[in-house]
């Protein structure tokens, strides 16, 4: 029997998940509970039925089709009784409008490999490849391992985008099958780490050190979240750790906070806990990046939208036309 895994999404032409043009596979399930999580649909390991209100045409085909009677269209919208729902997919199948979606699709590893290498030519011209992301892909480590090794057989560069939270044996065994690790280091204060992320810091740091031991190229990434990770002390501590223990780090990215995920939370009937936070000031990002440089890290970048300076003057616009196709 072929091994299967559960994915939430496959993103092609991804330019932000490692070098070159990449296809990113998002695996479902994550042991962390980051307060600022952007992909809440990837936390739960199990598939789940969701309803897209803006697509619904109210024909109730899903309700009629549901063998468990788990759906009800009320004045408040669709109510999905999660105790009854077996996530059988009948409603998704029957809905003509694509308003019902099962988040979390099962893939056989061989079929997934075929799907992920469709953009092989783009990987080749850009030194890109496939990024296995999540959730935390190592929650499905056997699947991840097989996927990575089969992709490499096809000549595809494989990056693992991970929280670094896995047992040492799992960690060591996966590293043999990937070319690059994108590792999140979020918070260096163990108590805060436990509080904001929901897991102990120590395991992550131990695993980070192993990367150097085995000579694995690494890109470290820190989400700069206001009041959670955005202090100088934190960035300095992360930078010191990298400088001291992670000689194979090729690049350190600081990712500015944003609130793109608000819509996703509403899909699950939730509110984004950080919805009231403002974006980070540009100056702060620059200061933090500079700080990392000062700690001796050679390739530091920061990216993302920052708080707007509203004094920016309105640009004059021309009425010229320039398109032909």
């Amino acid at each position: 029997m072929t091994r299967t895994g559960i994915l939430t999404n496959i993103q092609r032409c991804s330019t932000e998940d490692g070098p070159g043009i990449r296809t990113t596979a998002f695996l479902k399930g994550c042991p962390l509970n980051c307060v600022w999580c952007h992909n809440i649909e990837t936390i739960d390991s199990n598939p789940r039925t969701v309803w897209h209100s803006e697509k619904c045409i109210g024909d109730k085909a899903c309700i009629e089709a549901c063998p468990e009677g788990a759906l009800d269209l009320t004045t408040e919208g669709m109510v999905i009784d999660l105790r009854k729902c077996l996530v059988c997919g009948t409603c998704e199948e029957e809905c003509p409008a694509g308003a019902i979606e099962i988040i979390g699709k099962t893939w056989e590893v061989d079929a997934l490999v075929e799907e992920l290498i469709r953009d092989k030519v783009f990987f080749d011209t850009s030194n890109g490849g496939v990024t296995i992301s999540g959730g935390e892909p190592l929650l499905q480590h056997e699947f991840t391992k097989e996927l990575a090794s089969k992709l490499r057989v096809k000549g595809v560069h494989v990056a693992l985008d991970t929280t670094g939270y896995a047992s040492e044996s799992v960690w060591r065994s996966i590293l043999e099958h990937v070319d690059l690790v994108l590792l999140d280091l979020k918070q260096m204060d163990p108590e805060k780490h436990q509080e904001f992320v929901g897991i102990p810091l120590e395991r992550v740091l131990e695993n980070a050190k192993i990367l150097t031991e085995v000579g694995m190229p690494v890109w470290v990434r820190t989400p700069i979240i206001p009041d959670h990770t955005d202090t100088r002390e934190n960035i300095r501590a992360i930078s010191k750790f990298i400088a001291q223990y992670m000689q194979t780090v090729e690049r350190y990215d600081l990712l500015a906070f944003n609130k793109m995920c608000i819509e996703k939370y509403s899909l699950f009937g939730l509110e984004y806990p950080l919805k009231d936070y403002d974006m980070i000031e540009k100056e702060k990002m620059e200061v933090l990046a500079q700080l990392a440089c000062e700690e001796g890290i050679s390739n530091v970048t920061w990216s993302g939208m920052t708080k707007r300076d509203d004094n920016e003057s309105e640009l004059t616009r021309t009425n010229e036309v320039k398109t032909c196709g």
Binding site: T15, P96, D119, K259, V321
Partner: protein, 798 residues
């Protein structure tokens, strides 16, 4: 070509601050269209006979929106026509000679001669409406044939089958040869033909070509005289010496071959504007071909001699560039005044491969790219050829320019796939590498090819409507197609599929037959000896360019709505025959009702059937089957009168808009009135898997049977190309396109207005990727608040 009035943000894509004061003044001169006294609006000229015609409907009938205005445009031009005195024996000559004499008289005696302050390359007025020079009986027959063709063209257009006509422009004259031997050299060659044993008719035709070449000489002498006249009133010593040089150059070229870069630019400009004057067709598609190749020796000579400083060379180029934009003055009158749009295209092919696949870009190519970016003008329109040996630094330059532009500074043509198409249509592979691009993105050979790339336009999606209604137009009930039977009798997908093919073949037959009527009229009554003199083979064969006198003679049928067609066929296959989720009866009812009260069915067809543009083999195989089918079917037809064969292309211009209300609801869930797909792109908003998937779908079409080439547009958000690292990824995307994509690509970096539109019409923009901190997201799927933020930032170029 699109007619989108995309505006550019001043900061991102504006003229460079480094332009010289002279160039800034010249640029402003052009843009002062509503104030300036000098304009290149058309002058009309008549033989003075009461039956004279100065306008040909078939020259403009690719644009159905103009049909109601033809009569008044014709009358206006007639009324404003200036009579031209002609020699006594004028009417004794054959038509080609009459046209040549008329052209000579107009250009050497009547056309105003203007030199603008500061300009260094001269030649201003070239918009004409020239007498067709027909005698009374020719006029009578011509007008009768014209009415018959126009009636048929109107009949096909009225129900949205397409357009069929015969349009000037869209050609690359042999400018390279005209520069290397001079018009004098062409005359010497043609005099050699006269020494042979040829028919009197052939003889007179060749003489008409010789007279036309002399017209170019005499025309520029007037500019030399004008420069000398201005000298007298000029006090500035610098300008005085420039005018002396202009006078010297215009006395010399284009009759003698140029030697310096300045001379070559002047010779080229003169030869070029005279084609527009001779065809009475300013600008649209009259293209330069591989400009950077044949201009390079002159550039190199001037640089090596030290007579021309690099800054001066660039300023000359700036001056030459601006001139091309005066074609748009033509749009100022004649009911075409919707403001200046970029609908014309004097294309300039840059870069590309040589005979052995080597890269041909040179110093002048790089200089031209700088000029394009510095000038920020509508014309000339550059097309950059990319191939597998395009160097990385060149590709990065291209990607960088794309990333800084809003709207596209140029189109990209991909050599290997383009060449495959030309070879398929019969061009030997050892010649095909030297192709050029006309109009927008249409591939043709240079100097020996008239492929009439916008003459016939077919609504491919219409075949589905006819197949679902036994050949009858649904709105009017007219039997336009063949009787393929009641769709309720179809028991298999194959029966349905074959009916669509039968209807497609019939539409191709109807349109090519109509196109041939127009092509024949043009061949009989509109010889253009000046252009024929610049096209290989016409003199030897004794045939005008419009009679099929050059080496490669095609008429291109441009296919509209391929994605609408294949999405519709795929939806019927999957939902009616494979999965049986709806019956044919339900489908027909929904289509006849335009999906009114049929939202469930419409959603099912739209959301659950596979769509072209997503790298989905189920529908991409259908796309390939239909694309190659109609490409091959088109190639079976030719006009026996001119010997011009029909070939296929995908250039949708703006037809997906006017054809929309004329095309019934389609089984892909599209309602009547909703746009058809454009070029080889997906139906708007239906390609939801990003640029790479869309590129792969296009690559699967089997475009070698579409020798004209295929228009493919990819829209990117500025955030995708903001950093140098991401620009490199765009360059890599272009390199991959050359391997797995189509023949021609336009990259649009969108502006905030497009983002606003995406915000209000998310269905149309489901493919629009943006770059967020550390990941990509689809613009339409993020929250409203964030959308606002991104739009504001785009406006401010943050």
């Amino acid at each position: 070509m699109t007619l989108d009035n995309e505006r550019a943000s001043g900061k991102i894509w504006s003229p460079s601050d480094t332009l010289s004061n002279r160039v800034k003044r010249l640029r402003n001169q052009f843009y002062s269209f509503h104030d300036r006294t000098e304009t290149n609006e058309p002058y009309s000229f008549t033989t003075g006979t009461k039956w004279d015609e100065v306008y040909s409907t078939h020259d403009w009938a690719q644009e159905p929106a103009l049909y109601p205005f033809f009569a008044s445009i014709n009358a206006t031009l007639q009324a404003m026509a200036i009579p031209v005195a002609l020699p006594d024996d004028y009417w004794d000559h054959g038509l080609a000679m009459r046209r040549a004499i008329f052209f000579h008289e107009v250009m050497t005696k009547h056309m105003p001669v203007t030199i603008l302050d500061d300009e260094m390359v001269v030649g201003f007025n070239f918009s004409t409406a020239l007498s067709k020079s027909l005698n009374k009986s020719e006029t009578k027959v011509r007008n009768k044939e014209m009415s018959k063709w126009f009636e048929e063209a109107g009949r096909l257009n009225a129900v949205g089958i397409g357009t069929a006509t015969s349009v000037p422009g869209h050609i690359i004259p042999n400018y390279a040869k005209a520069l290397s031997v001079g018009m004098k050299g062409l005359v010497e060659e043609y005099e050699g033909i006269l020494k042979g044993d040829i028919s009197p008719k052939h003889r007179e035709f060749v003489e008409s070509l010789i007279l036309s070449c002399k017209t170019a000489r005499d025309f520029n002498k007037r500019y030399a005289d004008k420069a000398r006249e201005l000298l007298e009133s000029t006090t500035d010593p610098e300008r005085k010496s420039e005018l002396e040089e202009i006078a010297r150059i215009c006395d010399m070229v284009p009759w003698n071959p140029p030697e310096t870069f300045w001379e070559a630019l002047q010779a080229l400009w003169t030869v070029h504007i005279l084609v527009m004057a001779a065809e009475s067709y300013p600008g649209a598609g009259l293209s330069h071909g591989r400009w950077d190749q044949y201009m390079y020796p002159f550039y190199k000579a001037s640089m090596e001699s030290g007579d021309l400083l690099p800054e001066k060379a660039k300023e000359l180029l700036h001056c030459y560039w601006i001139k091309h934009n005066y074609v748009y003055d033509f749009q100022g009158r004649l009911g075409l005044n919707q403001g200046i749009n970029s609908g014309f295209g004097q294309l300039m092919t840059l870069g590309g491969c040589g005979p052995n696949g080597e890269d041909m870009a040179n110093e002048l190519t790089w200089l031209a790219l700088d000029v394009i970016e510095e000038m920020n003008l509508l014309e000339p329109k550059p097309n950059v050829r990319i191939h597998k040996n395009t160097p990385d630094d060149f590709l990065m330059k291209i990607a960088g320019m794309l990333s800084r532009a809003q709207g596209s500074p140029f189109l990209l043509n991909f050599d290997e796939h383009s060449i495959d198409g030309l070879v398929w249509q019969g061009v030997p592979r050892e010649d095909a590498w030297d192709y050029g691009v006309v109009g927008c993105l249409e591939n043709t050979m240079q100097g020996n090819d008239r492929s009439d790339t916008i003459d016939v336009n077919i609504n491919l999606a219409k075949a589905v409507e006819l197949a679902l209604n036994d050949g009858k137009d649904i709105a009017t009930g007219q039997q336009m197609g063949l009787k393929t039977g009641d769709p309720l009798s179809f028991t298999t997908y194959e029966q349905f599929r074959d009916s669509v093919k039968v209807q497609l073949a019939e539409l191709i037959r109807l349109l090519t037959r109509c196109g041939s009527m127009a092509d024949t009229i043009r061949a009989k009554y509109q010889p253009t000896p000046y252009l024929s003199a610049l096209m290989d083979g016409c003199a030897t064969r004794g045939k005008d360019i419009n009679e099929g006198g050059t080496d490669w003679n095609f008429t291109t049928v441009e296919g509209m709505g391929i994605a609408t067609l294949v999405d519709s066929v795929a939806a019927v296959k999957m939902m009616v025959f494979d999965q049986k989720r709806i019956t044919m009866k339900e489908l027909l009812a929904a289509i006849h009702d335009n999906y009114k009260n049929q939202e469930e069915i419409r959603q099912l067809l739209r959301q659950k059937a596979p769509k072209f543009g997503n790298d989905d083999d189920y529908v991409d195989e259908i796309a390939r089957e239909f694309s190659t089918f109609w490409g091959e079917e088109t190639f079976k037809h030719e006009n026996p009168y001119t010997g011009k064969r029909y070939r296929a292309g995908y250039l949708s211009w703006n037809y997906y808009i006017p054809l929309a209300p004329l095309t019934a609801a389609t089984p892909d869930g599209r309602r009547r009135g909703e746009f058809l797909s454009g070029g080889v792109g997906a139906v708007q908003g239906m390609d939801a898997k990003g640029p790479t998937a869309s590129i792969r779908s296009v690559g699967k079409l089997g475009l070698e049977t579409i020798p004209n080439g295929a228009s493919h547009t990819i829209t990117l958000s500025p955030s995708m190309v903001r950093s140098q690292e991401n620009v490199a990824k765009l360059a890599a995307l272009l390199r991959a396109y050359n391997e797995v994509g189509g023949t021609a690509l336009q990259i649009n970096i969108i502006n905030s207005e497009t983002l606003r539109d995406a915000q209000s019409n998310p269905d149309k923009y489901s493919n629009l990727l943006i770059r967020v901190t550390g990941y990509n997201a689809y613009f339409t799927q993020i929250g409203r608040e964030l959308q606002e933020e991104i739009i504001t930032r785009t406006e401010h170029n943050l």
